[in-house]
């Protein structure tokens, strides 16, 4: 985009055009009508006075040169987008900004939080960007100027403002006064934004509201969520973006930079309001990734997410079937294959780093405390202690629905042929599933290491014949690997999410989509190229086009 530092000097460019119009373009009065045009042409041709068509084009290089020279003083620059390199910040100083943020943040009020937000976001802006902070909401309007790259002293001055003790200088009036400037405007306030003031009316195009103290999703890339598809070789994530984004792409790159891992062009039906969910996948081996929207805009901090796919867990599985001589039941085999993504083998004893299968053998006694592989136990022994007896056809009575292992599972239809008797508590862990008589069926120890002990045998139950098996396998994976089954949300770069109050995935009541505010660096100066171009045009006119002028003279 072309911008000018001194736009008034553009009036100079009118002079050559005016001269061209006055001197070269025949005016209405210079037209003459004749009935003997043929004779005129014949006579002019005989005397070599006929001006060829487009003769004035020969002087166009001169006009172009003058145009180039006249454009230079206006300071043209190429590459700057709307906004001319100045960011206006309106900081609300109204008394309500002195309210505390509430529990968890003692001693911190909304004004302090607004300054923190502002300071954190200055780092994402071009260092040379001029920042003008206006303090509104008090008895009078305050102003401080600075640059984004040297924000610390400016922040100190802003802190000295403090919160106004009385009065609210009409924030709306200040905004209305600033709107005609067309500059990108960042408003930090606990005040309801224009979308709340006038429902259905789009906010001014270059205004970004940051609500301090209350949730308000305000960015373009609103949320990122890792989907629980571990241990697939690909990471899949779901993103929540504004439905008004057209012509932009969601791009995934390694966090440290590098080639694009995945890209998705965003195109939604026109007029779509609110948010849209899109899904992207990329290689797990890439590690932490940075997800951003391209091309970016003036407020990139909330259009970038960092996602860290969890590493593959070092899971050890110990199996012990109670029936000597029998191999693993299909349900156990399926459970194992699910846990190991088909990489593991069921053998007598595997000392590999990821999997230990002990079948018909002995378990380590006791399972060592502290960091190490986790354990999934199926067998009649726990830490070397043979369980005392068994329960015939126990019925599932209750289970902990809130535990990650059992979240969303319905165990009421699970039929069990027989189960082991065991005690809970201590090293054995807590019972998550109980029979109708209160006997434990599933023991869990939080660890580390994490231990899950099934007191019933999948091969002696209906687990393998129900959809419970893949779901339970998935819950085991999530619990062992530390991935919340609901997924892991991305965080904003630069030390966590800058303002957790601003985003809420569950809240889709977004402000009406409008044009994205944008500004950028002033762009590359066009003065030198224009000078060179003007000289070239002049040389062309002087040296290459004189023949036509001579003919005319």
């Amino acid at each position: 985009m072309l911008s000018f530092q001194h736009p008034w000097w553009l009036l100079l460019a009118l002079l050559p055009l005016l001269a061209l119009w006055l001197l070269r373009v025949p005016r209405k009065g210079l037209h003459r009508l004749t009935y003997r045009l043929e004779i005129w042409i014949r006579a002019a041709r005989e005397l070599n006075l006929l001006q060829p068509r487009g003769h004035f084009l020969r002087d166009l290089p001169l006009v172009a040169a003058l145009l180039c020279f006249s454009l230079v003083p206006s300071g043209p620059r190429w590459g700057a987008r709307r906004g001319a390199g100045t960011l206006l910040v309106v900081l609300d100083r109204s008394p309500s900004m002195g309210a505390s943020l509430g529990a968890g943040r003692p001693g911190k009020d909304r004004f302090t939080r607004a300054l923190e937000i502002l300071e954190s976001r200055m780092g994402a802006l071009p260092p040379g960007l001029e920042v003008r902070v206006l303090g509104a909401g008090g008895p009078r309007l305050l102003r401080e100027d600075g640059r984004a790259g040297e924000f610390a002293p400016l922040a100190e001055r802003l802190r000295s403002w403090g919160v106004a003790s009385r009065g609210r200088a009409r924030l709306e009036q200040v905004l209305e006064g600033l709107a005609p400037l067309g500059l990108p405007l960042l408003v930090l306030s606990d005040f309801a934004g224009p979308e709340k003031q006038a429902p259905g009316k789009a906010p001014p195009c270059s205004v970004r509201w940051v609500r301090v103290g209350r949730p308000l999703p305000n960015g373009a890339l609103l949320e990122g969520l890792l989907l629980p598809d571990w241990p697939s070789p690909e990471v899949t994530a779901r993103f929540l973006v504004r439905g008004s984004l057209l012509g932009r792409s969601l791009v995934v790159r390694p966090a440290q930079g590098g080639k694009v891992l995945a890209r998705l062009a965003l195109s939604f039906p026109p007029g779509r309001k609110g948010a849209e969910r899109v899904t992207l996948s990329w290689e797990r081996a890439a590690g932490p990734v940075r997800v951003s929207l391209e091309p970016g805009d003036a407020f990139p901090w909330d259009d970038t997410l960092l996602l860290e796919p969890p590493p593959l867990p070092a899971l050890r599985v110990a199996l012990r079937e109670g029936d000597p001589g029998e191999g693993p039941s299909p349900a156990v085999r399926a459970l194992l294959e699910g846990l190991t993504a088909g990489k593991g083998k069921i053998v007598e004893e595997d000392q590999g780093p990821d999997l230990v299968v002990v079948e018909g053998g002995r378990l380590p006694s006791p399972i060592p405390q502290g960091p190490g592989p986790d354990w999934l136990l199926l067998g009649t022994s726990l830490e070397g202690v043979t369980l005392p007896g068994r329960l015939e056809k126990p019925r599932v009575g209750s289970w902990d629905m809130g535990h990650p292992l059992l979240r969303g599972l319905d165990l009421s239809q699970l039929g069990i042929r027989w189960a082991l008797k065991a005690r809970e508590g201590g090293a054995a862990g807590r019972a998550l599933v109980r029979t109708s008589r209160g006997a434990p069926l599933l023991l869990v120890r939080k660890g580390p290491p994490k231990v899950v002990h099934l007191l019933f045998f999948p091969g002696r139950s209906t687990l393998g014949a129900q959809l419970l098996l893949p779901r339970f396998t998935h819950r085991c994976l999530s619990w062992f690997s530390g991935i919340d089954p609901a997924g892991r949300r991305g965080r904003r770069p630069g030390g966590g999410r800058p303002d957790p109050e601003e985003s809420d995935l569950s809240s889709l009541s977004l402000p009406p989509p409008g044009p994205r505010p944008s500004f950028a660096l002033p762009g590359e100066p066009l003065g030198p190229p224009l000078l060179l171009g003007g000289l070239a045009f002049l040389a062309f006119w002087v040296f290459l086009a004189p023949s036509g002028r001579k003919r005319r003279s």
Binding site: T34, Y35, L37, I39, W40
Partner: protein
């Protein structure tokens, strides 16, 4: 009222034109038929018609005047064939000049109509606008003079193209005679002229001159446009160019005059200040 009716000089000009024409017709050296050539009673009597100014006094039936107290002229059978066919070019090119040529042309046509109605039995008037458009009016006797002038006053130039169609309509069913043709004759309408030659008509061209014909003035660099949409040409006007243009145009008019002379007629240049002297020879 129109510019012809409001012209105070036009009646006097017409009377003078008629007078000079009669005088010339009486002079054999000027191409006339002698003093009797102005009028003779030819053939049997056909009818009376009302006398109008300009009628030959010798055609007045004094006996009828004695009986009725009103003036009537005699019309004979032999008078029926004496027609003045008049073709007036009103194409867009006639807008040239100041005053425009079409005004001079219509003024000349008005005088010709006057003289024609006085000297001959009928005037067939055709105004051609080019592009196949024309208007025609047939006038008989002095009583139609006013109608003829009103017809001329309402005409305005416009259009382009040949007058051949109009001429064919004008000369339909006739062979031999004289055709009066008022035009700027640039370029000469060859198709129309061929029509006249084919029917053995003598063509007497009347060219109303405007001051710009012989003295064109252009300001420096100018863009010339043809009045009939011939295009345009940017050029710089120099004295040499103006002189050359006049010379070429004179040459062109010479060629037109020679071409019309081949038909037995000629080209009569009508100067604004000497209308009678220039127009009367064409009527002899």
């Amino acid at each position: 009222m129109g510019f012809l009716s409001d012209d105070p000089l036009l009646p006097a000009l017409c009377d003078e034109l008629l007078l000079v024409t009669r005088r010339l017709r009486a002079i054999p050296e000027e191409g006339g038929r002698g003093w009797k050539g102005g009028w003779v009673a030819r053939g049997p009597f056909k009818e009376h018609r009302r006398y109008v100014p300009g009628d030959e006094p010798r055609r007045v039936d004094w006996h009828a005047y004695a009986r009725t107290g009103e003036l009537y002229v005699k019309v004979f059978e032999a008078d029926r064939g004496e027609v003045l066919p008049l073709l007036v070019d009103l194409s867009a090119s006639m807008e040239f000049g100041s005053p425009p040529r079409w005004r001079l042309a219509l003024r000349a046509a008005a005088a010709l109509v006057y003289a024609g109605l006085a000297l001959l039995e009928r005037v067939d008037l055709v105004l051609t606008f080019g592009g196949g458009r024309w208007s025609a009016l047939s006038l008989r006797g002095g009583g139609d003079l006013r109608e003829g002038w009103l017809f001329l006053e309402g005409a305005r130039p416009g259009g382009r193209g040949s007058a051949a169609e109009a001429l064919r309509s004008l000369l339909k069913g006739r062979r031999g005679g004289t055709l009066w043709w008022v035009s700027d004759f640039f370029p000469l309408d060859g198709r129309a002229l061929d029509q006249a030659v084919e029917r053995r008509f003598r063509v007497r061209g009347i060219l109303p001159l405007v001051p710009q014909d012989g003295n064109p003035r252009l300001p420096g660099t100018v863009r010339l446009r043809g009045l009939e949409g011939e295009g345009e040409a940017p050029l710089r006007a120099t004295p040499k160019l103006l002189e050359r243009v006049v010379r070429l145009w004179e040459g062109e008019m010479e060629r037109v005059g020679a071409r019309l002379a081949q038909t037995g007629g000629g080209l009569y240049r009508l100067r604004p200040s000497r209308t009678v002297e220039d127009l009367a020879p064409s009527l002899v």
